[in-house]
């Protein structure tokens, strides 16, 4: 059982099937159980091979837990595994109509940072709007998760890829807008 390296696949190390829609509570229970089982202290006297396995498995489990618990990180992991490269996309996933609003928000942010009170109100309105769009994106993401798990397809992953790009873009903006309003 302790020969060779532990599974390098994040789903395999948890002993679960690859799924985009995961029950995070169940994942957490598995994380605690597996962490106890593979804690290096429990294998300290069991021989070098077993101890090395326990150490590697514990480290892998921690990495896997950090990624799989988060829906966005989990989706990125699955996308990467399926060959969807994150750095290949350019300015194509933000639709032009949203770009205008993004640009206007950036203008308002710049003015707000320069002490323009009216601009601050504009930022607040835009922030509420972008937060709403973000939560719509998250609902759409969860929908793709379920659809992909039922019937995996490249199309669904492509859709997910562009949705996550869009989300990342808006997330950066929302972060900046929140900072400007403090």
């Amino acid at each position: 059982m302790f020969s060779g390296p532990p599974p390098s696949d994040y789903f395999a190390i948890f002993g679960i099937e690859k799924k985009l829609a995961l029950d995070v509570e169940d994942l957490q229970r598995r994380f605690y159980a597996n962490s106890r089982e593979w804690h290096p202290d429990r294998h300290a006297r069991a021989g070098a091979a077993q101890l090395a396995y326990a150490e590697a498995a514990s480290a892998m489990l921690n990495d896997a837990w950090r990624v799989l618990r988060d829906p966005v990180a989990r989706a990125e992991y699955v996308l990467k595994g399926e060959g969807f490269n994150i750095s290949e996309q350019r300015g194509r996933d933000v639709p032009p109509e949203l770009l205008e609003e993004v640009f206007d928000l950036n203008m308002a942010l710049e003015e707000a940072r320069n002490g323009d009170a009216a601009a601050k109100a504009e930022v607040a309105i835009a922030l509420a709007k972008f937060e709403r769009i973000l939560s719509e994106i998250d609902s759409a993401r969860d929908g793709i998760f379920v659809a992909y798990d039922a019937a995996p397809s490249r199309e669904a992953l492509g859709e997910l890829r562009s949705l996550l790009n869009r989300r990342k873009y808006l997330q950066n903006l929302v972060r900046d807008a929140r900072a400007a309003l403090v």
Binding site: I86, R90, G91, V94, L99, V102, F103, N106, R166, L173
Partner: protein
Amino acid sequence: MAYSDKVVDHYNNPRNVGSMDKARTDVGTGMVGAPECGDVMKLQIQVNTDTGIIEDAKFKTFGCGSAIASSSLATEWLKGKTVDEALDIKNTDIVNELSLPPVKIHCSVLAEDAIKAAINDYRAKQGAPVAAETVAH
């Protein structure tokens, strides 16, 4: 990472910052964004409709020094060129001129995309067919 002198110069003294009335038929507006870094770039050209020569170019970029320098340089290059000549500006020209490091190449790509988007917008307003390679965006 150190910026090249040219990037610093464009960043400290950006050329042609501003905006034009995007409703004008002789003005083309290109708005592009880079999801990875949140950069957003607006680049506008004003074209003499008789000669096809770009008489003025303006930009406003929210982003890093390289993105600002790339778009600033692009507006300098655009002025005095015909629309067709402007389409020949490649991101690699910008990379070379500004000595952009590999991690900043996407900034020059953004500037090239902005030029193409502005020209497409102008041509669409003039009723001309848009460049095929950017139609599919």
